[in-house]
Amino acid sequence: MQQKDFAVFDCDAHVVEPAETWDYVAAADRDLVRQYYWEDADSAPFGILNGRRTAFVTPGYRTAGMGGSVRGPGLSPAVQRVLYSRNLTPEQWDYMDHRGARDPLARVVDMDLMGIDQVLVIPTMVNNYLYFIENAHAARAVARAVNDWIYDYCQAVPGRMFPCAVLPVQYPAFAVEEARRVAEKGFRVVALRPIDAQGLYPNQTAFDGLWSTIEALGLVVGMHTFPAGETILAGNRDGRQYSPGELVWLQGSTTDDHMVTSQTASFIYEAMAWVAYATLSGFLDQYPNLRMTVFESNAGWLPAVLEQCDHAYRLYRNLRQHKGSRLPSEAFLQQCKISFEADEGAVFSMHEYFGDVAIWASDVYHHDAADAWEVIRKMDKAGVPYETKVKMLSTNACQLYGIEPRLFVTEEAELNLPDWFPTPAEVEAARAPEHVLLANVPPGSFASLQAQLLQGLFLGVEGEVH
């Protein structure tokens, strides 16, 4: 079993906001929020978005099947593949739905098992839908509620969990106000998503005050990307793309075959677009003290994009408006950080390049997450030197956030798995393509449901609430 002698800081893990989050909406705002972003357990999987019944992923994410709370100890993607192809009992579904996604005390238990000492906790569903709320006041109320809820969530286990706030960008003054409010509460990180939802791509003049405020407050801004397409089918009402990830999803949704999940590249593309703009426009020189990170988007693509940006910087010297002296790559590598995940061979091979800029992200409890033991094993196998490993898994993030690293977990524990848990042989057998064919899976399995959900339930489900 793996051992470690340094604190692992997980800079991007998630909660899945429970129904009680709406209890944090100020009483005076509840009627308004109910019209713009609301869900009840009784109406799952539907909720209200901008006055219209919308199929949220939320209910699914709150169950293990759609991936929001499934990746806890032992539930690797390979294991999920086996379980999704079975008819599971309610008890088995319940096992896969990790309480830690909404209960901090349950989370700590999982953190110990997964080798994670400290964690930055980021919302899921609000991060997905907040940008599409059409009423700025409602967005403000929702953001405040989620930020207050996640603050209380993290306060339950001080020193191990740290909250990340979301901001209502619909009206930048509200975002500024919320940034100040959360900074006073002790938040160190705010998240923004680089998408053009409702035309609100965060590079516009209207956001200058927000960027200045974040810089002045000393907050870290995490550019947190997300899937696009299958998770927010409503999209922009004017029909314009809000995310490059939508083009990935479109491949599957236009063929009547199984889906092509946008998650494969949506995170990466949203981040690429933002980094290209931020480095080529002189944004980082405009805000020289801004501490920016890229979350949720892997890191292996970064060298190629920065190379391309450097090329453009040189080739367009007499055309570009940005007259700063730093190459785009220099600006990013000096001023920013980027999270990496366990499945990144290129990052491990280039540990000298990434040693000072990479911070680790588990993405727990989302279905594609990994634990610390896995990334440590992979880094060791790739020959990443110990000192670099500690930087990438711990001190880079701690220094960025101003958090003292604290070691709680030193040894990988044996997991106490139920007897129905897939065996290694079953996991290996499930790799076969035929194992998950719609024609071969039992009708009650998640595999069977997923195809139906995505083809029938989500498409064209918007309707008016009467």
Binding site: P77, R81, Y84, S85, Y201, N203, Q204, R240, Q241, P244, L247, V248, L250, Q251, T254, T255, D257, H258, V260, T261, Q263, T264, A265, I268, Y269, M272, A273, A276, Y277, S281, F283, Q286, G300, P303, V305, E307, C309, A312, R314, L315, R317, N318, L319, R320, Q321, D343, G345, A346, S349, Y353, R431, P433, E434, V436, L437, V441, A447, S448, L449, A451
Partner: protein
């Protein structure tokens, strides 16, 4: 590694370009299509006026006041910094080799290139967006006849890549067959959406892929910036739109910086999600002009998400790395300054092929490319694979050896 008498390596350049002259439209396009083509896709140069493109009934706007034709501005000996120092208000003369095969051969010699595959520029960036399938087929025929003539300056060293009118799969198949009969080995496919519903993985295109495999042509998946593409057709328009909103204007197009990477990887994701490479085990395919660094990460992501994609309609292998690297006749274009490639030469030396991008403004000479690889301590055997053997194997033909060269 095979070398010339002065020990320069014999280099196969898998990605170079032409600047298409007006005569393709005025002389090579059949007269009966010319009136319609003036609306569908037409190019005209006029002294003092620059190049005007008409596409789908409207003039394609120039994004910014940049009179340097960057698609043709490089020539041997010109550095990127020298290009950056050019006056954008003064129209720079494109390099002669962009349009003249004989002049191009001199540039190949100066750049240390034994042979190169030649791709379109305007027929890449604009043609695929044209909306009239019948006219598109005629235009493709015209371009393909012209490129064969262009490359006739030395058919052993200038290898034409045909364009296919992807607006229609039937027309594409017809043109692929015609190109094969004309001796063309490579066809150009742009990874973008047609009519917002058909990407290259759509079943609509299955007959084309089957035919390309049967004809043993090399399917070159070549993205283009797409700065003026319509929304939802490729990644370029989104990038330009959001960059254009920015409080800090960039001053030049941004799509060329990252859109090709996005378009190319979107293509590969769709193909692997639908078991494309397993369904076409003999297809020769190369992904170009989008760097290679993204490949390991995207394959990792594909494998990860295929693992949890259940309820599939066709059997799909989840071991994406094995599917890709094990295919045997697949390649990906790289740039010599890619640090990820430098760090993982063993991986890339299996599949990567070099492209100069001649005469685009970001082109690089072969000698400089080899120097960069050597400076990055890429082993000589890997350099030989990257700069020569992988490309030759994909083409399935021998690379011509200049007189006096050593094998």
């Amino acid at each position: 590694m095979a070398t010339t008498p002065d020990s320069s390596p014999l280099v196969l350049d898998f990605d170079s370009h032409v600047l298409e002259p007006d005569e393709i439209w005025t002389d090579y396009l059949e007269e009966r299509f010319q009136a319609a083509a003036r609306d569908v896709f037409w190019k005209e140069e006029a002294p003092g006026c620059g190049t005007e493109i008409v596409l789908n009934g409207a003039v394609v706007p120039r994004h910014r006041p940049d009179w340097i034709d960057r698609a043709g501005s490089w020539r041997p000996g010109r550095s990127w910094d020298e290009t950056g120092a050019l006056d954008p208000r003064a129209a720079a003369v494109p390099c002669a080799g962009a349009r003249d095969g004989r002049a191009r051969l001199a540039d190949l010699d100066a750049a240390g290139i034994a042979a190169q595959v030649v791709f379109p520029t305007y027929f890449g960036e604009y043609f695929f967006v044209a909306r009239n399938p019948g006219v598109a087929e005629a235009l493709a025929r015209a371009y393909n006849r012209w490129i064969v003539d262009f490359c006739s300056a030395d058919p052993a060293r200038l290898l034409p890549a045909a364009v296919l009118p992807l607006q229609s799969v039937n027309a594409s198949i017809r043109e692929a067959r015609r190109a094969a009969e004309a001796g063309i080995r490579v066809v150009t496919l742009r990874p973008m959406y047609f009519e917002r519903t058909r990407f290259l993985n759509h079943p609509y295109f299955d007959p084309l892929w089957t035919e390309l495999e049967r004809l043993d042509l090399v399917a070159a998946v070549h993205p283009y910036p797409g700065s003026t593409n319509p929304d939802w057709s490729s990644h370029g328009p989104f990038l330009e739109r959001v960059a254009g909103k920015g409080a800090l204007p960039i001053g030049h197009a941004i799509a060329e910086v990252v859109a090709p990477i996005m378009d190319a990887s979107t293509f590969l994701i769709g193909q692997l999600f639908y078991a494309f490479l397993d369904r076409h085990p003999s297809l020769r395919m190369v992904i170009l002009h989008s760097k290679a660094s993204w490949l390991p990460l995207i394959l990792e992501k594909i494998e990860g998400y295929l693992t949890i994609t259940v309820g599939t309609t066709i059997p799909v292998r989840i071991d994406a790395e094995e599917v890709f690297y094990g295919h045997g006749s697949i390649g990906i274009g790289f740039d010599a300054d890619e640090q990820v490639l430098h760090a993982m030469p063993d991986l890339f030396s299996r599949v990567a092929v070099w492209g100069s991008r001649y005469p685009n403004h970001d082109a690089m000479a072969a000698g400089e490319a080899v120097e960069r690889l050597r400076a990055a301590k890429v082993p000589e055997e890997a350099i030989s694979d990257l700069m020569h053997h992988n490309g030759a194997r994909l083409l399935g033909v021998g690379v011509p050896t200049p007189a006096g060269s050593r094998p």
